[in-house]
Symmetry: C2
Subunit: 313 residues, 2 copies
Amino acid sequence: MGFVYGIDIGGTNIKLGIVDSGGGVVKEGMIPTGAEEGPRAVTARISKWFDSCKKNIPDIDRVGVGCAGLVDSKKGILFSSPNLPGWSNVELGKLFSEELNLPAIIDNDANCAAYGEFRLGAGKGVKHFICVTLGTGVGAGLIINGRLHRGFSGQAGEIGHTLIKVEGRLCGCGNRGCLEAYIGSSAIVERAKKMLEQESGNSLAGVEQLSVKDITKAAEDGNEIAIRTLEKTGWYFGIGLVNAVHIINPEVIAVGGGVSGAGDLILNPTRESFAEHVMNDIFLDVRIVTAQLGNKASFLGAAMLAFDHKQED
Amino acid sequence: MGFVYGIDIGGTNIKLGIVDSGGGVVKEGMIPTGAEEGPRAVTARISKWFDSCKKNIPDIDRVGVGCAGLVDSKKGILFSSPNLPGWSNVELGKLFSEELNLPAIIDNDANCAAYGEFRLGAGKGVKHFICVTLGTGVGAGLIINGRLHRGFSGQAGEIGHTLIKVEGRLCGCGNRGCLEAYIGSSAIVERAKKMLEQESGNSLAGVEQLSVKDITKAAEDGNEIAIRTLEKTGWYFGIGLVNAVHIINPEVIAVGGGVSGAGDLILNPTRESFAEHVMNDIFLDVRIVTAQLGNKASFLGAAMLAFDHKQED
């Protein structure tokens, strides 16, 4: 077995790597996405990057692409992406296989991250596994019975849009009460701001364009409002996980994505809330852990999917 | 391939059948459960029933048992059952294989019903399938990738205890806001009673021990309160299904159990609510249909599981 190209197309940056069958990264890089140039130009820039560094690597067999958005992995089509404006109904699979002259598989970035963690990280050897990505959006990839589960229309794992509160907070998707409306990064920032209004003199009050990173840093320094913000977020997250666990009953849930940088400051209250809301102690077998591959999960997972591309669902 | 015994142990009755590999029922019967006699005596009565009618059926290979409650199908143990008081940590698998002198498999009744519908009914040939049982309790069995999905602790499919309203109605499980607290049969009856309080002279007002059956019958006769009761129930059910679909993305959802007797009176508002709350039109591919096997689903599914007992998860 030779090497594959792994690609993770995000709204801001594209992560790239040449990966061996054991998940070893031979070359690695990052280029700006520049989505406004359009898919063809972006694909050409990616191709150029690989051209510049593939010397001395003889056997490149395939390319795996993870992409934020609604993806039909069977047809290799990106339907739409909130992070890639104007990219709708793009035949990404075809585009990449033509440009790189290699068989290409594409999938949703959350699926790729889950597959990466399953093959190389927090879900290694775990038969029933959920990998949740916490960030602006809240998504998940599912491994069921040792296979990536995409579902009938290829859209399984939309945990961020499970409803936890009928007629609750308005979500970016237009519905009310989605988990994402309570634990997505803008919900977290809003929660902190609301608490700050009620207390003067807090160090966070003056921060311009407050971010989850700022809140996490403050919480690490013992800032009470920041700690309570993450606690409340974890409380909601635990409820979201209870719903997923009552349906799927996985062995391990790994939590990745930017917001997961808060580590146990968010995961401990998540675990407590999970234990509080679960219907039966049997479900407490489930382990809730931090994902291990950081921001490499998606391109590594895309690469592993390219290796294991028989793993179709 | 010969025949198997299929058994469905409910709180009130036990349904029994001798089934061929195509799902054909050669003999069929029902006996009272009499749970208070204890598992050994009940198993002996079941054995006696089969003895009385197995003549002329030479090759009985196995027995499949569906049972309400928390079941560990791998170990063949019934942990506990709200409908079988006193039956806790019962080695049902061992008990049946000793009594009937046949290899026995046991599983949760919702899993058996789902498997029955998958093999012989509304989920025939469907790769990703959910079968929801609506009754006093609300449960589900999942078929994922053509296999019964039990999950890590064997408890997957507890859709009735997914939370749809944080801090909402108290559920029988002790939590608040579970789907079952909004669509279980006692919630439906309570909903109707509340509406009846606000309107005098309704034909349902005088009914003693009002049941979902009474409400369904009245709705069929055009009773507005009964219709609205089922509509509101369907509205909540649609939200519960949205959560399951956003996670699993199945092709077909079949709805069985006593409450499903209301048919489209409950399923049409369910479909409307589903369409209203789903995050993306892609998920509208999912078909929500009535289960086909009625109250035979569990014993037929148990029988089919016995035939296909390699289908372990």
